[in-house]
Protein backbone atom coordinates (compact mmCIF):
# COMPACT_ATOMS: atom_id res chain seq x y z
CA UNK A 1 0.00 0.00 0.00
CA UNK A 2 1.65 3.28 -1.02
CA UNK A 3 2.10 5.94 1.61
CA UNK A 4 2.50 9.60 0.75
CA UNK A 5 3.52 12.56 2.82
CA UNK A 6 2.24 16.08 2.27
CA UNK A 7 3.61 19.33 3.66
CA UNK A 8 0.79 21.69 2.78
CA UNK A 9 -2.96 21.75 2.56
CA UNK A 10 -5.32 23.75 0.40
CA UNK A 11 -8.23 25.34 2.13
CA UNK A 12 -11.76 24.92 0.85
CA UNK A 13 -14.09 27.92 1.02
CA UNK A 14 -17.82 27.67 1.16
CA UNK A 15 -19.78 29.57 -1.43
CA UNK A 16 -23.53 29.66 -1.83
CA UNK A 17 -25.37 29.23 -5.11
CA UNK A 18 -28.34 31.46 -5.93
CA UNK A 19 -30.68 28.92 -4.34
CA UNK A 20 -28.54 28.82 -1.19
CA UNK A 21 -26.90 25.44 -1.77
CA UNK A 22 -23.33 25.21 -0.42
CA UNK A 23 -20.47 24.84 -2.87
CA UNK A 24 -17.01 24.04 -1.56
CA UNK A 25 -14.16 25.57 -3.52
CA UNK A 26 -10.49 24.54 -3.22
CA UNK A 27 -8.84 27.93 -3.58
CA UNK A 28 -5.12 28.56 -3.92
CA UNK A 29 -3.50 31.90 -3.32
CA UNK A 30 -1.04 32.46 -6.16
CA UNK A 31 1.41 35.34 -6.30
CA UNK A 32 1.72 36.84 -9.74
CA UNK A 33 4.91 38.78 -10.47
CA UNK A 34 3.90 41.60 -12.78
CA UNK A 35 6.24 43.00 -15.47
CA UNK A 36 6.87 45.96 -13.14
CA UNK A 37 7.94 43.47 -10.43
CA UNK A 38 4.90 44.06 -8.24
CA UNK A 39 3.69 41.00 -6.36
CA UNK A 40 -0.04 40.51 -6.52
CA UNK A 41 -2.01 37.76 -4.81
CA UNK A 42 -4.72 36.13 -6.85
CA UNK A 43 -7.10 33.47 -5.66
CA UNK A 44 -7.38 30.66 -8.19
CA UNK A 45 -9.63 27.63 -8.23
CA UNK A 46 -7.57 24.43 -8.09
CA UNK A 47 -8.68 22.68 -11.24
CA UNK A 48 -7.22 19.41 -12.44
CA UNK A 49 -9.49 19.71 -15.48
CA UNK A 50 -7.79 22.87 -16.72
CA UNK A 51 -4.77 22.09 -18.89
CA UNK A 52 -3.33 25.59 -18.50
CA UNK A 53 -3.57 28.12 -15.69
CA UNK A 54 -6.27 30.48 -16.86
CA UNK A 55 -7.21 33.98 -15.77
CA UNK A 56 -10.25 36.05 -16.59
CA UNK A 57 -9.56 38.24 -19.60
CA UNK A 58 -10.14 41.48 -17.70
CA UNK A 59 -6.98 40.83 -15.64
CA UNK A 60 -4.81 41.61 -18.71
CA UNK A 61 -3.30 44.80 -17.13
CA UNK A 62 -1.56 42.58 -14.54
CA UNK A 63 0.42 40.98 -17.37
CA UNK A 64 1.47 44.39 -18.69
CA UNK A 65 -0.78 44.08 -21.74
CA UNK A 66 -2.74 46.74 -23.59
CA UNK A 67 -5.50 44.32 -24.44
CA UNK A 68 -6.38 40.78 -23.48
CA UNK A 69 -6.06 39.29 -26.96
CA UNK A 70 -2.60 40.31 -28.17
CA UNK A 71 -0.90 36.99 -27.33
CA UNK A 72 -0.81 33.59 -28.94
CA UNK A 73 -4.32 32.54 -29.94
CA UNK A 74 -5.11 29.14 -28.51
CA UNK A 75 -8.42 27.49 -29.43
CA UNK A 76 -9.58 26.05 -26.14
CA UNK A 77 -12.25 23.51 -25.33
CA UNK A 78 -14.60 24.60 -22.59
CA UNK A 79 -17.76 23.19 -21.12
CA UNK A 80 -19.65 25.63 -23.32
CA UNK A 81 -17.84 24.74 -26.55
CA UNK A 82 -14.63 25.87 -28.21
CA UNK A 83 -13.50 29.43 -27.63
CA UNK A 84 -10.29 31.37 -28.20
CA UNK A 85 -7.98 31.90 -25.29
CA UNK A 86 -4.82 34.00 -25.61
CA UNK A 87 -1.64 32.69 -24.13
CA UNK A 88 1.22 34.46 -22.36
CA UNK A 89 4.07 33.47 -20.06
CA UNK A 90 4.22 34.72 -16.50
CA UNK A 91 6.13 34.18 -13.30
CA UNK A 92 4.11 33.00 -10.37
CA UNK A 93 4.80 31.77 -6.87
CA UNK A 94 2.64 28.94 -5.67
CA UNK A 95 3.02 26.55 -2.74
CA UNK A 96 6.38 28.16 -1.99
CA UNK A 97 7.91 27.68 -5.43
CA UNK A 98 8.64 30.19 -8.19
CA UNK A 99 7.44 28.94 -11.53
CA UNK A 100 7.45 30.39 -15.02
CA UNK A 101 4.38 29.01 -16.70
CA UNK A 102 1.91 29.62 -19.52
CA UNK A 103 -1.11 31.70 -18.58
CA UNK A 104 -4.23 31.78 -20.72
CA UNK A 105 -6.64 34.69 -20.69
CA UNK A 106 -10.24 33.67 -21.31
CA UNK A 107 -13.32 35.81 -21.69
CA UNK A 108 -15.86 33.17 -20.76
CA UNK A 109 -14.83 32.87 -17.11
CA UNK A 110 -17.52 34.82 -15.27
CA UNK A 111 -16.54 37.13 -12.41
CA UNK A 112 -16.55 35.62 -8.98
CA UNK A 113 -15.44 37.36 -5.78
CA UNK A 114 -13.61 34.28 -4.47
CA UNK A 115 -11.47 33.47 -7.49
CA UNK A 116 -10.36 35.08 -10.70
CA UNK A 117 -9.11 32.08 -12.59
CA UNK A 118 -8.12 28.44 -12.59
CA UNK A 119 -4.87 26.91 -11.43
CA UNK A 120 -4.21 24.45 -14.25
CA UNK A 121 -1.81 21.63 -14.94
CA UNK A 122 0.74 22.83 -17.50
CA UNK A 123 4.16 23.30 -15.83
CA UNK A 124 2.61 24.04 -12.42
CA UNK A 125 1.42 20.55 -11.51
CA UNK A 126 4.77 19.00 -12.54
CA UNK A 127 6.32 20.58 -9.46
CA UNK A 128 3.98 19.06 -6.90
CA UNK A 129 2.09 16.01 -5.80
CA UNK A 130 -1.51 16.19 -4.66
CA UNK A 131 -3.78 14.15 -2.45
CA UNK A 132 -7.51 14.76 -2.63
CA UNK A 133 -10.27 13.85 -0.19
CA UNK A 134 -13.50 15.24 -1.60
CA UNK A 135 -15.80 14.04 1.16
CA UNK A 136 -13.86 15.91 3.83
CA UNK A 137 -12.93 18.89 1.64
CA UNK A 138 -9.24 18.21 2.02
CA UNK A 139 -6.57 18.74 -0.61
CA UNK A 140 -2.97 18.10 0.35
CA UNK A 141 0.16 19.17 -1.46
CA UNK A 142 3.73 17.97 -1.42
CA UNK A 143 6.60 19.95 -2.85
CA UNK A 144 8.56 16.70 -3.20
CA UNK A 145 6.52 14.38 -5.40
Amino acid sequence: MPSKNFERSVKFYEGKTQDGAPVWLPLVEVILITPSNSRISLSLLFDTGASVTTLRADLYPLLGLQSWNEGLRVPTGTGGGQVDAYQYTANIEVFGKSIQCPINLLQTLPPHPFFCGLLGRDTVFNEFGFGFWESTHELFVTENP
Binding site: G15, Q18, V23, A50, T78, G79, P113
Partner: protein
Protein backbone atom coordinates in the same frame (compact mmCIF):
# COMPACT_ATOMS: atom_id res chain seq x y z
CA UNK B 1 27.45 35.44 11.41
CA UNK B 2 26.99 38.47 13.65
CA UNK B 3 24.19 41.01 13.75
CA UNK B 4 25.03 44.61 14.51
CA UNK B 5 24.73 46.12 17.97
CA UNK B 6 22.26 48.61 16.51
CA UNK B 7 19.96 45.71 15.77
CA UNK B 8 19.93 44.63 19.40
CA UNK B 9 19.44 48.23 20.55
CA UNK B 10 16.36 48.54 18.31
CA UNK B 11 14.89 45.30 19.60
CA UNK B 12 15.54 46.56 23.13
CA UNK B 13 13.80 49.87 22.33
CA UNK B 14 10.79 47.97 21.09
CA UNK B 15 10.57 45.86 24.25
CA UNK B 16 10.87 48.98 26.42
CA UNK B 17 8.14 50.73 24.46
CA UNK B 18 5.85 47.74 24.73
CA UNK B 19 6.35 47.43 28.48
CA UNK B 20 5.86 51.15 29.21
CA UNK B 21 2.83 51.48 26.91
CA UNK B 22 1.16 48.48 28.51
CA UNK B 23 1.63 50.06 31.97
CA UNK B 24 0.60 53.60 30.97
CA UNK B 25 -2.46 52.72 28.91
CA UNK B 26 -5.65 52.92 30.94
CA UNK B 27 -7.63 50.66 28.65
CA UNK B 28 -7.10 48.21 25.79
CA UNK B 29 -8.31 50.93 23.41
CA UNK B 30 -5.63 53.33 24.66
CA UNK B 31 -3.01 50.67 24.27
CA UNK B 32 -4.11 49.96 20.71
CA UNK B 33 -3.97 53.69 19.96
CA UNK B 34 -0.40 53.80 21.28
CA UNK B 35 0.50 50.95 18.94
CA UNK B 36 -1.15 52.78 16.03
CA UNK B 37 0.80 55.96 16.76
CA UNK B 38 4.04 54.00 16.73
CA UNK B 39 3.21 52.28 13.45
CA UNK B 40 2.98 48.82 14.96
CA UNK B 41 0.35 46.78 13.13
CA UNK B 42 -1.98 45.05 15.52
CA UNK B 43 -5.01 42.83 15.37
CA UNK B 44 -7.36 41.65 18.10
CA UNK B 45 -8.43 38.12 17.29
CA UNK B 46 -11.93 36.73 17.70
CA UNK B 47 -10.65 34.95 20.81
CA UNK B 48 -9.54 38.28 22.29
CA UNK B 49 -5.79 37.85 21.82
CA UNK B 50 -3.71 40.82 20.79
CA UNK B 51 -1.51 40.05 17.82
CA UNK B 52 1.18 42.53 16.82
CA UNK B 53 3.51 42.81 13.91
CA UNK B 54 6.54 45.03 14.01
CA UNK B 55 8.94 44.73 11.11
CA UNK B 56 12.40 45.90 11.88
CA UNK B 57 15.50 45.63 9.74
CA UNK B 58 17.67 43.04 11.45
CA UNK B 59 20.65 43.34 9.17
CA UNK B 60 20.94 45.49 6.08
CA UNK B 61 22.32 43.81 2.96
CA UNK B 62 22.08 40.51 4.76
CA UNK B 63 22.34 38.64 1.45
CA UNK B 64 22.58 39.63 -2.21
CA UNK B 65 19.32 40.11 -4.17
CA UNK B 66 20.15 36.88 -6.03
CA UNK B 67 20.56 34.94 -2.78
CA UNK B 68 17.42 36.60 -1.42
CA UNK B 69 15.44 35.30 -4.37
CA UNK B 70 16.60 31.74 -3.64
CA UNK B 71 15.94 32.04 0.10
CA UNK B 72 12.49 33.57 -0.39
CA UNK B 73 11.32 30.68 -2.53
CA UNK B 74 12.53 28.07 -0.07
CA UNK B 75 11.05 29.61 3.08
CA UNK B 76 7.43 30.25 3.97
CA UNK B 77 6.46 33.88 3.48
CA UNK B 78 5.34 35.82 6.54
CA UNK B 79 1.73 35.35 7.42
CA UNK B 80 -0.39 38.26 6.28
CA UNK B 81 -3.51 36.98 7.89
CA UNK B 82 -5.90 34.99 5.80
CA UNK B 83 -7.24 37.54 3.35
CA UNK B 84 -9.42 34.98 1.61
CA UNK B 85 -10.94 33.90 4.89
CA UNK B 86 -11.68 37.50 5.76
CA UNK B 87 -13.14 38.13 2.31
CA UNK B 88 -15.44 35.14 2.50
CA UNK B 89 -16.64 36.04 6.00
CA UNK B 90 -17.30 39.68 5.12
CA UNK B 91 -18.45 39.33 1.53
CA UNK B 92 -21.95 40.67 2.13
CA UNK B 93 -20.67 43.92 3.63
CA UNK B 94 -17.88 44.22 1.06
CA UNK B 95 -20.39 43.71 -1.73
CA UNK B 96 -22.65 46.46 -0.39
CA UNK B 97 -19.79 48.95 -0.36
CA UNK B 98 -17.83 47.86 -3.43
CA UNK B 99 -20.33 46.42 -5.85
CA UNK B 100 -18.86 46.26 -9.36
CA UNK B 101 -15.41 47.35 -8.19
CA UNK B 102 -11.94 45.89 -8.06
CA UNK B 103 -10.73 45.65 -4.49
CA UNK B 104 -7.36 45.02 -2.87
CA UNK B 105 -7.34 43.18 0.45
CA UNK B 106 -4.32 43.43 2.71
CA UNK B 107 -4.01 42.32 6.32
CA UNK B 108 -7.72 41.52 6.44
CA UNK B 109 -9.01 44.90 5.29
CA UNK B 110 -9.82 46.64 2.04
CA UNK B 111 -6.94 49.00 1.33
CA UNK B 112 -8.09 50.21 -2.10
CA UNK B 113 -10.96 49.94 -4.51
CA UNK B 114 -11.60 51.20 -8.00
CA UNK B 115 -13.81 50.69 -11.00
CA UNK B 116 -10.72 49.96 -13.12
CA UNK B 117 -7.84 47.56 -12.49
CA UNK B 118 -5.05 49.93 -13.67
CA UNK B 119 -6.28 52.57 -11.22
CA UNK B 120 -6.37 50.01 -8.43
CA UNK B 121 -2.79 48.98 -9.26
CA UNK B 122 -1.69 52.60 -8.95
CA UNK B 123 -3.22 52.80 -5.49
CA UNK B 124 -1.50 49.69 -4.09
CA UNK B 125 2.11 50.10 -5.15
CA UNK B 126 3.28 50.22 -1.53
CA UNK B 127 1.74 46.86 -0.60
CA UNK B 128 3.44 43.51 -0.98
CA UNK B 129 1.14 40.74 -2.17
CA UNK B 130 -2.26 42.36 -1.75
CA UNK B 131 -5.10 40.07 -2.76
CA UNK B 132 -6.96 41.44 -5.75
CA UNK B 133 -10.45 40.50 -6.78
CA UNK B 134 -13.48 41.90 -8.53
CA UNK B 135 -16.71 42.19 -6.59
CA UNK B 136 -19.24 41.49 -9.32
CA UNK B 137 -22.29 43.70 -9.63
CA UNK B 138 -24.28 40.83 -11.07
CA UNK B 139 -25.24 37.65 -9.22
CA UNK B 140 -22.49 35.03 -9.31
CA UNK B 141 -22.88 32.47 -12.08
CA UNK B 142 -22.07 28.98 -10.89
CA UNK B 143 -22.71 26.95 -14.02
CA UNK B 144 -19.87 28.43 -16.02
CA UNK B 145 -17.88 27.10 -18.93
CA UNK B 146 -14.20 26.73 -18.14
CA UNK B 147 -11.00 25.84 -19.91
CA UNK B 148 -10.29 22.15 -20.40
Amino acid sequence: MRLSETTFEKIGDFKSFFESASIEAKSPTEFLSALDRTGIESNVTEEGHLMIRYWQIGAENFVSPEQASIIRTSRPLPDQGDNMDWLSKNLQTIRQENCGKWVAVYNERIVASSSTLPDLMNQIKEYDRPLITLIPAEPVIWTFAYAL
